[in-house]
Subunit: 238 residues, 2 copies
């Protein structure tokens, strides 16, 4: 999930599509090193608590831990992008806990809430960046919700393929050649479905020559058929 292709290949950008002006103020922040696998639980309750984190290098997963110990990756954020700490415990309900985990060795720069407010007051571009960051995160959460809620596993998979086709121009043969290096496990995680279901769906669609998944690409040979199956799920037998 590391290039500007992410949006068109998985619909879950982890990079910032535009450079953020926060990088002009990094000297004001506080630097933290996180080794791969290390995590922080950051909750901002007061003005002086760390609130905004700029990722200088590495990669951070924003995760929810459930009461039963299972965890879900909500979003990934990479170098040049920022993430916000939890605010006043709003996100952690009952046993759920928000956690920020370093997927690689990472260096992050934290700004307190007061620092962010000071910067926003001085520099309107920071306000603009903040809005941008907030709405990119809304979009990620909404897309995942829309790709999950009230949809069966096969509907989730087909909805995702359909969206990928809609934002990628087909070649002259009407085939969509979509760069996508996700493993089947990563696709399953993205769509909140089981790995075995994901395997079965891919194999089934491959047998019908509707798609082909390689290590680097998804080839969609028949996007019309994907639409048909979406409208009438009973036609899918796998």
């Amino acid at each position: 999930m590391g290039t500007p292709r992410d949006y068109s290949s998985i619909l879950m950008p982890s990079y910032s599509i535009r450079p953020l002006n926060f990088n002009q103020y990094l000297h004001l922040g506080k630097s933290h090193k996180l080794f791969q696998g290390e995590f922080i639980n950051s909750i901002c309750n007061n003005e002086e608590d760390p609130y905004l984190y700029y990722i200088l290098s590495g990669k951070i997963n924003i995760c929810f831990l459930r009461t039963d110990g299972s965890s879900l990756v909500i979003a990934t954020r990479e170098a040049g992008n920022v993430f916000q700490s939890e605010y006043r415990g709003f996100a952690s309900i009952a046993g759920d806990r928000l956690r920020f985990i370093a997927v690689e060795n990472s260096v992050i720069i934290s700004f307190t809430k007061k620092q962010l407010f000071d910067l926003m007051e001085q520099d309107r571009q920071i306000m603009d960046d903040f809005l941008y960051v907030v709405h990119m995160f809304y979009a990620t959460l909404c897309h995942r919700l829309m790709n999950t809620a009230c949809l069966s596993s096969s509907q989730r998979f087909l909805t995702w393929l359909d969206k990928l086709c809609r934002i990628n121009t087909p070649d002259r043969n009407g085939h969509h050649i979509i760069e996508c290096d996700l493993t089947q496990q990563q696709i399953a995680d993205l769509l909140f479905i089981h790995l075995t279901t994901c395997n079965r769906l891919i194999t089934g669609l491959e047998k019908e020559k509707i798609i082909k998944k390689t290590k680097t690409h998804i080839y969609v040979y028949n996007s019309k058929k994907i639409n048909e199956y979406l409208l009438d799920e009973s036609k899918i037998v796998y």
Copy 2:
């Protein structure tokens, strides 16, 4: 969904838990009347586009329309609370569209992005309110995602009941008496499950005397059993 009990009874507050300082600046905004069922598609692309809406009276549902015409209510916002327009089309992907629908006759006051930035510059309480609003919306989206992703219908229902028990103190008999006037359809919508599944789950748990649902309350007589079922779903036969 109209009182401060919402949080403890459904986990989806539609009101603002604290009064917002935006109400001091309503004379600067632009007033709009929406009849019940009327909707707006608001996308903020420029400084002068409406961005923030304060609800003076009525109730607004924030909905996603899917390509297939089905729609999902993501959140509800009521008088005294605010909602943000879509920002630069981030939320609308492929066929998905964000829509703001009046559930009752409503009067809303819009502020442009420039106006919001001006207010935030002048009045730090507005910055603080904005952060509050953003994180309340994150929380709503995250809770719904956490209550849906990778969970079967019965797990969703039990997870929800478990959370309600955890934030409501039991009485001296260990019973949780939770104010909840949602219909079974509304519970189904909240958990993104089918109505028939919802009915079956409630009836099943009632037969075992674990819960009782009335028009105004959910009585949980045995929260321990709910925990057990959550850990071992195979024990649920309905």
